[in-house]
């Protein structure tokens, strides 16, 4: 026994200190991917650094989200290679970006694509190219595994997010009535994806009232249904039903007819598609290049970044549309472009929570009557039978109150405020969540997605930008007002085709 008593005591105290530290383990984490500093430079029209070099290039794509990448994908598929794509962030993908740690890859925003219907020709074309669809059969490994979704309602988990437990006969009747109404709209064939295909034939009057108002007119007043309708609007549009155009609300339910139990998803979400696209067009992409100014120069366009100037015959503007007012010379103010602020968080869990309510872990987990949207399990798509550590992506559209006020809130409150709010929300269903989580990274998005507010779908400005021809082309799901993969891809490909046409290449 060589250890002296002093050493023994020291060891003991150290061990005790270690135990204490373990007992009060702090949850690590920070804000990530903050973009508002760059955004505010654009808003405040900060001076542009002088160009040190000039490049002559036939086509410039501004923005490397799904729309911009899809434009590049199309150009390259047409054999056109004289273009660059300028992306302000260090990582392309926009809302289809991801992160990765030692546990799993995980999405930062968009995390799935519904199994596309027959009209989504471009989506099917891409998925055939990527091996997701082969000989008319969807690759089982990319379809969301069972069990897909669950809802915590009345103190227990139910399968599926549409409330199905504790409904009164009246609730059921109302649900049935809504289903019939949506089916009737679906059968008109005018609620399509891409929305552009059926828009002109669709009932324009729906865009003049809110979805909440429309539901009231149909006599839909039951609490679980109203909650569910609001949940769907918050989930897809970041807005309450009262702030959503009835047209968009109906589109959500009437545009899809499932041919296969889906959706398509990957651990890193839609960043999987981003990665596949980058494998094809990555050599054209320049990251960390924030476009500061787009000006006319004779029949051409001058695209200025801090330190460089691109002179292009055509520009595909695939960045968020609202920035056009700040970036493009002589571009007037936009009226009907409202954006929803969001917060997403990735939580690293060292073990699964042990709740009082047992239910198998699902992919998408929603708590009824919570202001948040719940969480998606990044390791759900694993082929392993045994999963200990995992990553949850927590979604929260700040939809109560005005977007401007919520943006201020996003900026004002610190990381611990938001992580505490998230844990508090999860604690209701997972009482031991704090003991499971080791890290919370939070991404704040002031303008996460265009909001399909009342009047926005048929807004003349939006229609004009969608139909623009010539050499300045707009491409973003903002033009549809529906922030989904299919719309972004469609707008990107359309713009690429128009750009080629304007250059005399078809």
């Amino acid at each position: 026994m060589n250890a002296t008593r002093r050493q023994f005591v020291a060891c003991g105290s150290a061990a005790l200190a270690g135990m204490a530290a373990k007992g009060e383990r702090r949850i690590a984490g920070s804000f990530v991917n903050d973009a508002f500093a760059a955004g505010h430079r654009i808003r405040d029209r900060a001076p542009v650094s002088p160009a040190l070099r000039e490049e002559r290039i036939p086509v410039v794509i501004v923005g490397g989200g799904i729309a911009g990448l899809s434009a590049a994908w199309r150009l390259q598929k047409r054999g056109f290679r004289d273009f660059v794509l300028l992306e302000m962030n260090g990582q392309a993908g926009g809302n289809a970006r991801s992160g990765e740690n030692e546990v799993s890859a995980y999405p930062w925003a968009a995390h799935y694509v519904p199994v596309p219907g027959p009209k989504a020709i471009l989506v099917r074309e891409l998925f055939e190219e990527l091996g997701v669809l082969r000989d008319g059969v969807w690759n089982e490994r990319y379809l969301c595994f069972s069990p897909q979704e669950r809802l915590f309602l009345y103190g227990k988990w139910q399968e599926g997010i549409e409330p199905s437990i504790g409904l009164t006969r009246q609730d059921r009747d109302r649900f049935q009535k809504l289903e019939d109404l949506f089916a009737a709209f679906r059968n008109t064939g005018s609620f399509t994806i891409p929305m552009e295909l059926g828009l002109e034939r669709s009932p324009r009057e729906l865009d003049r009232i809110s979805f909440a108002e429309w539901l009231r007119q149909q006599g839909i007043d039951s609490r679980p249904i109203v909650w569910y309708m609001n949940y769907c609007c918050r989930d897809d549009y970041g807005a309450l039903a009262a702030d959503t155009s009835a047209w968009a609300g109906v589109h959500y339910f009437s545009s899809r007819a499932a041919e296969e139990k889906g959706p398509l998803t990957w651990p890193e979400g839609n960043a999987w598609i981003t990665r596949q696209l980058l494998q094809r067009v990555g050599s054209f992409v320049r990251t960390g290049q924030m476009v500061r100014r787009i000006e006319r120069q004779g029949s051409r366009y001058r695209v200025l970044t801090d330190g460089a100037r691109f002179v292009a015959d055509a520009v595909i503007y695939a960045a968020p549309t609202f920035l056009a007012s700040y970036l493009i010379q002589d571009f007037g103010p936009l009226q009907h472009f409202e954006y929803s602020p969001w917060l997403t968080a990735n939580l690293t869990l060292e073990r699964a929570p042990r709740g009082a309510s047992t239910s198998e872990r699902a992919w998408d987990n929603v708590v009824a009557y919570s202001p948040t949207l719940g969480y998606v399990d990044a390791t759900h798509q694993t082929l392993r039978t045994q999963v200990d550590r995992t990553v949850w992506t927590f979604y929260w559209a700040l939809s109560e109150g005005s977007p401007a006020a919520n943006r201020r809130l996003l900026l004002e409150k610190d990381w611990s405020y938001w992580s505490e709010a998230i844990l508090h929300d999860l604690e209701r269903v997972h009482p031991d969540i704090r003991a499971c989580v080791s890290r919370i990274d939070i991404m704040r998005m002031g303008h996460a997605m265009a909001r399909p507010a009342v009047g926005s779908i048929f807004d003349p400005q939006r229609r004009a930008l969608s139909q623009a021809h010539g050499r300045l082309l707009f491409a973003n799901s903002d033009l549809s007002g529906l922030s989904i993969f299919e719309e972004a891809q469609f707008r990107g490909v359309q713009a690429a085709e128009k750009a080629l046409a304007s250059l005399g290449r078809t």
Binding site: R141, P147, Q148, E260, L383, T385, Q386
Partner: protein, 498 residues
């Protein structure tokens, strides 16, 4: 003095109610029908309290002395009530009898408490005040106990330790009363000694509580448990009764040594004997090494790869003498290579092909296991089949889980394989099913390895015949995105148990 006294009232009242709640909850857990249990227990308890109150008039002298004895008895009986009832349920037929007996005894003793206390305090307080105060604290104690019990005690301590904790409170009140009423007590030393003894016994009980529940749980298994371990992946239990050794994984029976040869001969030989010149064999699951034992009966086989998730399982079956006797030391064969890995990612990554593949997983009781019964998995497995190769899948019971069995068959066919379903009778399991599958046609083999106890060449074709009550039914295939099998399995076995 007054306040301390009323705190005692508060505590003993809480204790009394806790024992009643423990009995009610335990009976509901173990026997079911909580309305009946709670109703009869409350009735019995209150009635017994009435008896206690009535009996109190026969106590004339030494009120404090008797009060302390009563506290110690309640502490001891109440404290151990939960543990006793658990053991009674596991080991005797007399659970209900013992339960009502215990409830009655505690009820009588608790019924004595308050009248005695009132008479004790009558000497110091105005009678009107005494009644008001004692009853007030009595009812407050009941409220505290009724809230504490479901919110903190049951979730944090469990029933056994909750009862013991309140036994300690009773004994504590007894010890404290020897101080409180020192003036009225003659022989204090004995009472204090007894109080300390009861406290010690209950404290020890609390520390040992875990073992008591484990002993009680033992009896959920019919036979003596000779090995039990929680591994990272599962709960392994081995039981033995005379020469019958049984393995349970997460409480599901995996084999009984008396008839496992029927299962394992049927799992391996109908397929393997039909493969010409098999050299390489793969076993997915099967960490007990019993399928290996059958496979090693073919001398021409060069390598057998066994993939099982749980290293503790394969280690146990390679080292424990009783188990290696059963699997004939199959894990020690130089031909056998053990890989401890999750089967699906492993098979995706492995480049080798095999002449025979045994898929022997636990039944698809949940979505995690269900992934190993999907078209995606069988497609991945089929890619490893050599040209003449075959694979066999343990496919649960075509009798008890008919939908599930035929769903597995449909899934294999959907994955592009030809299937040959068959079934055997294994007494400890009942009718059990397997599906042979391959890219080629199959006919039953004309020879089998020597020394089989169950299979013969002559009876082999009969395994492939299904009587009407197990005959094929159309089922959809099980896929990763729509695990119909897990739902079907759940329903099949629920239907059986009702």
């Amino acid at each position: 003095m007054g306040l301390l006294l009323f705190i005692s009232v508060f505590l003993i009242s809480a204790c009394g109610l806790i024992y009643e709640l423990v009995a009610g909850t335990l009976a509901s857990y173990l026997v079911g029908d909580s309305v009946f249990q709670f109703s009869t227990i409350i009735g019995c308890y209150l009635f017994s309290m009435g008896i206690g109150s009535a009996l109190s008039r026969y106590i004339h002298r030494g009120l404090v002395h008797r009060f302390i004895w009563i506290e110690l008895m309640i502490g001891l009986i109440g404290g151990f009530s939960s543990a006793l009832l658990f053991l009674a349920f596991a080991y005797t037929q007399a659970f209900a009898l013992l339960m009502y007996f215990i409830v009655t005894v505690i009820g009588v003793l608790v019924g004595l408490e308050i009248p005695l206390l009132m008479r004790i305090v009558r000497e110091r307080f105005d009678f009107r005040d005494a009644v008001a105060h004692v009853l007030t604290f009595d009812y407050i104690g009941a409220l505290a106990a009724s809230l504490l019990f479901p919110i903190i005690l049951v979730p944090k301590l469990g029933l056994v330790r909750s009862a013991m904790l309140f036994g300690i409170v009773n004994a504590g009140v007894a010890l404290w009363s020897t101080e409180l009423f020192a003036a009225q007590l003659g022989a204090r030393r004995l009472l204090r000694g007894m109080s300390i003894l009861v406290l010690a016994v209950l404290l020890a009980g609390m520390l040992e509580a875990k073992r008591i529940t484990a002993v009680a749980e033992d009896n959920i298994y019919a036979d003596e448990i000779i090995f039990a371990r929680d591994t990272r992946y599962q709960h392994i239990v081995l039981t033995r009764f005379k020469d019958d050794l049984r393995l349970f994984l997460n409480s599901h029976l995996q084999f009984s040594s008396r008839d496992e040869y029927r299962y394992h001969e049927s799992l391996v030989h109908p397929g393997l004997s039909a493969v010409p010149a098999p050299r390489r064999v793969l076993v997915l699951g099967g960490g007990d090494g019993l399928a290996l034992r059958e496979i090693l009966k073919y001398p021409q086989i060069e390598t057998v790869t066994l993939v099982d998730l749980d290293p503790e399982m394969t280690r146990l079956f390679s080292t424990n003498p009783m188990l290696t006797a059963l699997n004939r030391r199959s894990f020690l064969s130089p031909k056998v290579h053990v890989v401890n890995a999750d089967a699906f990612p492993w098979i995706d990554a492995d480049p080798n092909s095999f002449d025979f593949i045994v898929v022997d997983f636990p039944d698809p009781t949940n979505y995690a296991l269900g992934k190993l019964y999907t078209t995606a998995f069988y497609r991945a497995v089929a890619r490893h089949l050599s040209q003449q190769g075959l694979l066999v899948v343990q496919s649960t019971s075509p009798m008890f889980a008919r939908d599930s069995f035929w769903c597995i068959d449909a899934t294999l066919r959907q994955a592009g394989l030809k299937t040959y379903p068959y079934h055997v009778y294994v007494p400890s399991f009942g009718e059990w099913g397997f599906v042979l599958a391959g890219l080629r046609d199959y006919t039953t083999p004309k020879s089998l390895p020597p020394g089989l106890r169950f299979l013969s060449v002559a009876t082999l074709p009969t395994l492939f015949q299904f009587p009407p009550d197990m005959a094929a039914i159309p089922m959809p295939a099980n896929t990763l995105n729509d695990q119909v099998l897990v739902r079907a399995y759940d329903k099949d076995w629920k239907d059986i148990s009702h």
